[in-house]
Symmetry: C2
């Protein structure tokens, strides 16, 4: 089976970019990736297929067929093009399809670009828009939102495993520390444990959003785009590319019940465990082989829960590793060196692509020195859709 390499990476800044156009933003990240790969001028001959990852253009931007729009915006006709939607896991899903397209032999080079314009709508609508991924009759219709589900999950997790508010704050502090050194991050404001854990009263720096979830336990509402150029290792096109090769050694996804309440144990994220197992099998690796990881911390508790399901820690112990600083940049298993969704930001369709962008940047040794992982061999990204009902796991290797 053909090996798939990431040969170019592109990224826009994440933040409130509502004054920009979604397709322009995705075009910017795409041209970035093509330039990084050294094929900006030859792009029309290089790219066989484009996959666009996006969740909300139809409703938020009143725009459909955005894959065709992107192709035309950056002059890639007559390549093939489709948009892929899998909620907040759309990004890694598009990368998975890119890998399938190349391994199938139907494409040699695939451009995967994820983008989302969350701030084109107001905050209130944005919560409703995100909630549209929940079960339409059994969850959404009752006013359930992602933060309310995450709050229930967080409370049970804290009770069962002894995770404290201080642990949750520690994750936020770590992510802000990393994001402050990432030029593309949305939140670069300093954040100390004292400020978010020990203040109190009406002007609490870290107010409750959905008990026990506080402001610093939730990702911001971000706009942004990220892009990857993938190529078959055995393609003659590979001679164009000069960057250190990074391969996608494993990529797989898994689904779980749409509704959380149908799971035997609401804290068990089957889709994460299964997708990770499938990705490990494809790559011929085990959790011990992974040097660092980008985990989908839309809510900080998920950094712990996902790390456990992916096999990095025993269930209910990830917070102990966190307390021992094992998941900081210089720790045994750095997690979310990019700042994670918590602080880098979470433009839904872009997130999965951005996570893999970070894996490649670290594996190339190109991350900013203060947040660079030492000599990584394999990185894992977990992109989490719905409340764990559709999860994509990617392993990149050098």
């Amino acid at each position: 089976m053909r090996k798939v390499c990431v040969v170019g990476i592109g990224h826009t800044v994440f933040g409130n970019l509502h004054h920009l156009d979604l397709v322009d933003l995705m075009g910017h990240a795409s041209l970035n990736a093509l330039e990084d790969a050294g094929v900006l001028a030859e792009r029309r001959e290089i790219v066989d297929q484009v996959f666009v990852a996006n969740m909300g253009a139809g409703r938020v931007n009143i725009q459909s067929a955005i894959a065709s729009a992107l192709v035309s915006r950056i002059g890639l006709e007559s390549c093939m093009a489709e948009a892929v939607e899998n909620g907040p896991a759309s990004g890694a899903s598009a990368v998975k399809l890119g890998v399938m397209a190349i391994k199938s032999g139907m494409a040699d080079a695939v451009l995967v670009t994820g983008g989302e314009m969350m701030n084109a709508v107001t905050r209130w609508i944005s919560t409703d828009f995100v909630a549209s991924m929940l079960h339409h009759e059994a969850e959404y219709a009752y006013g359930m939102t992602l933060p309310s589900l995450a709050a229930l999950f967080t409370r049970l997790y804290m009770q069962r495993y002894g995770v404290t508010e201080r642990d949750l704050a520690l994750i936020a502090v770590k992510s802000h520390e990393n994001a402050a050194k990432n030029p593309y991050a949305h939140l670069k404001t300093p954040c100390t444990l004292e400020a978010i854990c020990e203040s109190d009263g009406a002007d609490h720096a870290n107010p409750i959003i959905a008990d026990p979830l506080r402001l610093y336990g939730i990702c911001p509402v971000s706009d942004g785009a990220a892009s990857l150029l993938l190529c078959a290792e055995d393609s003659p096109k590979m001679r164009h590319f000069t960057k250190p090769p990074v391969t996608i050694s494993g990529i797989a996804s898994a689904t779980d019940t749409h509704c959380v309440h149908l799971r035997a144990d609401p804290l068990i994220l089957d889709a994460v465990r299964l997708a990770a197992e499938r990705a490990y099998t494809m790559a011929g690796l085990t959790p011990r082989d992974i040097s660092f990881a980008e985990l989908h911390d839309a809510f900080v508790i998920l950094e712990l829960a996902i790390a456990e399901e992916a096999g990095f820690f025993e269930r209910g112990t990830a917070h102990l590793a966190l307390r021992r600083d094992e998941t900081r940049v210089n720790g045994r298993l750095p997690i979310n060196t990019s700042g994670g969704l918590k602080a880098k930001g979470h433009p839904l369709g872009a997130t999965g692509v951005s996570q893999i962008y970070e894996l490649v940047k670290q594996l190339r040794g190109q991350a900013e020195p203060e947040r660079r992982v030492r000599d990584p061999k394999h990185g894992m990204a977990v992109n989490f859709g719905g409340f764990g009902n559709n999860v994509v796991v990617t392993i990149c290797s050098r």
Copy 2:
């Protein structure tokens, strides 16, 4: 490279089904396909990947992550699942991704289900919703709609090639004749050349919608779903299936400029020609090998234009073949034996899947006797996105 077979087919009736739920509708077509394949009970073990084709759930149904929703509705967890959007060509795009998934070796059996709920919104909004696939700044912002673009295209085509209003009516009559014999068709009302060509005055049976386009020159606004189960010919799973094997021998897509006005000649549909050439190459076939075709006649003029770009007739001559009845069920090259988009209906995301459903039904010899093609070997489907900016061509063979 692995051969891909269609081993099960499913379809709902097309029509105004706004009282139903989109995911239920797609579930119905999916279970149909699994039942046809004989694996309804074993479906959880059979299906590795689901692709859902849909254009408007985000805006029309205020629903995202519908691939996860479908998986959960019909109990297919933990298979992989993604939704695919490519405007009105979403359906065949999803089939293309199904073929890629299987050829990549990352899946053996893929369920592809397309569905759309157009009537959940009013007619006026539905025109606006469809127009959201046009260029956002250069077309949509100026109030351009698909019917207005099609009217310009039709006028120029009529002038250049001598196509008459009677020719356009002939296409509608042919499609209604076929649809009347298709149990799943939206419009089964009889339609004679006299009624739509020769009436006049205020109660004209065929009033002008966008000059020169008349009511019978445009597809209806339909809801519906269609589904296909694909499997690798070399997979052990094939032993479960009993229906006559139909293979997807060629499938490919191509893009063109997003805006029609940027094309050197607005009547030349490059993306159709290129996608067809790529599909012929993949299948090792030529236009002469094709026994019958389903062509994307959202506007009847497109049946002629697409047939010419696909290589069935010299440019500007398809209407002459039409006049000679060559494209009727018993003609030399039957076109739109299902009733086409014109009369079978056009639920956007479902259409491309439904076209391939028709190819399989005809190639199995299972079409209703009065609309059955005699001894077909290869059928072609052309699914047309935007105004020809993203086109998918599929060839099925027995």
